[in-house]
Symmetry: C2
Subunit: 159 residues, 2 copies
Amino acid sequence: MRVEWINPFVTATCDVFRKTLACELTRCPMTRRDSFCPSHEVSGLIGLTGQAQGMVVVSLGRQTAIRVAEIMLETPQETINADVADAVGEIANMIAGSAKSRLAEYELSVGLPTVICGKNHVIAFPSKSTPVLIPFESNIGPFCLEVSLVEQAAGNPRC
Amino acid sequence: MRVEWINPFVTATCDVFRKTLACELTRCPMTRRDSFCPSHEVSGLIGLTGQAQGMVVVSLGRQTAIRVAEIMLETPQETINADVADAVGEIANMIAGSAKSRLAEYELSVGLPTVICGKNHVIAFPSKSTPVLIPFESNIGPFCLEVSLVEQAAGNPRC
């Protein structure tokens, strides 16, 4: 993944958490994601297509995901349910949408979010891609943004 | 999801399994997917955008996923590793690509596949969508195709 693509996703994430969840973020050191490491328990995924193709993943712990839904819906949530999944999917959707507008030259389109729930689930990106993992700290708990994006140059994808 | 969208995905799946894995499929009765039911252990996801937005998921048991990679790579696989994840992602990619050509009027674009590994992981689609779950039987084991696709009518999405 090209390094100049990272900041648009970081800025999009900070904006969405600030505006939607009234939550300021601290960005932790980024790592290359090249092993089969487990994600947090709840992951919101959304596909990107256009002049670049990819997947954006927002991965949160159980309590953080529940807190996201509580803030967005203004109602207490007991457990991971359809409302929590919808809220996490909507956060992934907003981050992808905001990053899309910051990367206008790639004419990106945003897919439909999908949410994975499960202890110790592992997200494997294609080995031809070089996804980045950006951990964040927040007052509702730590979470990670993972982005895998591959540019569509004519017959010669750049990662 | 519109009923006329289902057959293109079924035909695409049968074609990909026949041509890539020399594997004939038996389609089992389709169900509406409206509960938090666990998927098989390995799921390949790929986003679709265009005149409709969605996500295609191919969900396979551990041994079926390993067998897919063994057939595609012509080498034995001991466990779920990066090669197996790549093979499952490539199957999802081929199914989405084949369905895209069968739904040309929606000008679909296909994203980058991502593979989820984990016992009892649950895939939650947006509650506004009505995903379909199509189980298949094959000589390398049972698997499921799940598709969630929402048409982009001007300001009025149809599911």
